[in-house]
């Protein structure tokens, strides 16, 4: 299986060097890479995508952590249904929330209807554009709806295993609840948070479906940019498409590496046994 995977990778790499005999292209060169890296439009889109992916992933982790801690196991009335509830979005494909958001948040969607009915807004024209908007709000909402629960679920699975022994010690040594959270609980969860963050970031940076449906054409994002090229069906462009994909991948991997490396130096980077 890994063999298939790496063979596929190698194939992408070879293609990206401009070797694509099917289209009569048999010369190796780096010019697809240099072209891309000299292409202002590409770089702009790349940067925008990075900011977007980073922002969404950070938000998802932030809300996920806050919620996971708010409903930790020690108060039982909320915890169980909360965890079950949080699992729901994890199970659904992104495409669904897109569907629901279209129904809910478009200018003529249910929310807008409701606001009009109760007189908060005059007509759908005063309802802000939330889908296909310049700020990618629709996409971010979709990602948050999927990823906040993912963060919650992966953290709760760890929290369940982690008892509150260290919380007790910390409070006994005079730390406030907030200090305990910040200095003890959070660092202990750090590796799990970092993992969830990287997974979310990678997804945000590379997946195109949601961006394709909810994105804004003037503020194009990288995966859609690449996808559009691919759909055009011009196979002479394939090496270029592959090189863009690989630039994207190498960047994500490097970013993940940097985050992991940084996390070793954050509190909690050294995880001893519990």
């Amino acid at each position: 299986m890994l063999f298939f995977f790496f063979s596929a990778l190698a194939k992408s790499l070879i293609t990206s060097f401009g070797y694509y005999p099917l289209m009569g292209m048999e010369k190796f060169s780096l010019h697809y890479y240099t072209d891309a890296l000299n292409n202002k439009v590409f770089l702009k889109i790349f940067f925008r995508t990075f900011i977007f992916a980073l922002f969404s992933a950070v938000m998802a982790c932030f809300f996920g952590v806050v919620l996971a801690f708010l409903f930790k196991k020690n108060d039982n009335t909320f915890t169980k249904p909360f965890f079950k509830l949080a699992q729901l979005p994890v199970m659904l494909p992104h495409i669904f929330i897109v569907l629901a958001l279209l129904q809910l948040l478009s200018q003529t969607g249910l929310v807008s209807s409701l606001l009009t009915k109760i007189g908060i807004i005059h007509s759908y024209n005063s309802f802000p554009l939330l889908l296909n908007d310049q700020w990618q709000i629709g996409i971010i909402l979709t990602y948050l709806w999927k990823e906040v629960p993912f963060v919650i679920v992966s953290l709760v699975l760890v929290l369940r295993q982690m008892d509150n022994r260290y919380r007790i010690v910390s409070e006994n040594l005079g730390a406030t609840k907030w200090q305990t959270f910040w200095r003890v609980s959070l660092p202990l969860l750090m590796p799990a948070i970092v993992n969830a963050f990287i997974i979310n970031f990678s997804f945000n940076f590379g997946a195109y479906e949601v961006l394709y449906l909810l994105g804004n054409q003037t503020k194009e994002l990288l995966p859609v940019y690449i996808y559009d090229l691919y759909v055009q069906g011009d196979y002479t462009q394939l090496p270029m498409i592959m090189s863009l994909n690989l630039i994207l991948s190498v960047f994500s991997i490097a970013f993940a590496g940097i985050v992991l490396w940084l996390s070793k130096h954050l509190p909690g980077g050294h995880t001893g046994g519990i």
């Binding site: 022994r165 260290y166 007790i168 010690v169 910390s170 006994n172 040594l173 005079g174 730390a175 406030t176 200090q179 200095r183 003890v184 660092p187 202990l188 750090m190 509190p267 909690g268 980077g269 050294h270 995880t271 001893g272 046994g273 519990i274």
Partner: protein
Amino acid sequence: MYHLDNISQKKGNTQILRGINLNIDENSIFAILGPSGSGKTTLLNILAGIDRPTDGNFLNEDGQVEKGIMVFQDYRLFPHMTVFQNITFGLKVKKAKNSEIKQRAENIMKTMGISELINRYPDELSGGQQQRVALARALILNPKLLLMDEPFSSLDEALRIEMLDFVKELQRKFQLTIIFVTHYKTEAYMLSNKVAILINGQIMQVDAPKKLESNPQNFDVAKFLGQANFIEGSLSSDNFSSPVYSGKVNVVAEEGKLYLPFSGQLQLDQTDYPAFKGNVVEKKWMGSNLERVTIKINQETVYCDLASESVSENQVYQFYFSKLPVVF
């Protein structure tokens, strides 16, 4: 003065503590001594405010709840922090000055002999080193009320004595109140002049060390302080009769067992209370110039700690009680 007022604790179906009443002087070291599973940790957790008792409460002189700083039996070092970070945690959260933190940490680490471990993580320490870090983490705070749960159990004797001295000095210097729990009576005796015996969730006796050993208030205490022979026999008023010894006794309880501690009761020097003639069948050297001597009297075996070389194997000696023996 701290007051433990009728503290009880129940977990699951187990009644762990049964109405504990104690008064503990401020600015003193108070030891709670008891066998494994008697409820020491449970009690200390209540005093530290970590657990709520099912009944009763723990108040200081002003009738207020005061939370002591605890040294945990299982150390509970933060696994993600270095030794230094662990030790300075309490000061950090109090927002002490950095220079002060550093200086105090250095001092205490030096005392504890863990200066070189400053940047290690807990999982890179030996058991005893972990225990010292745990101790340092609490002691550095000079807490008004310090609670220690078997704080020296993993330390070798030399180190233990150093630590004991240090704790004593600290107590004197900062006028701390220290309540500490141990199963190791020498430790309790060395650190404290007032020792409470906790057995099976009940305080059995509170006394000075020597008093405890010489006058255990009941069979359980005697047995726990133990290192004693308990000879079965029959009792009629204050006359006891058994294969080992028959004669007058001091009756404390009605279990009908003659209490012969290994040390302090039997001797070779003549007294008014002759005990028995017995054959020394084995000697085991115990350190501290003592030998544990196994004596056969008829079919019964009795152990006794005597000064090294005071008897020889396979010889018969006459033994005396140093005072009238006690029957429980």
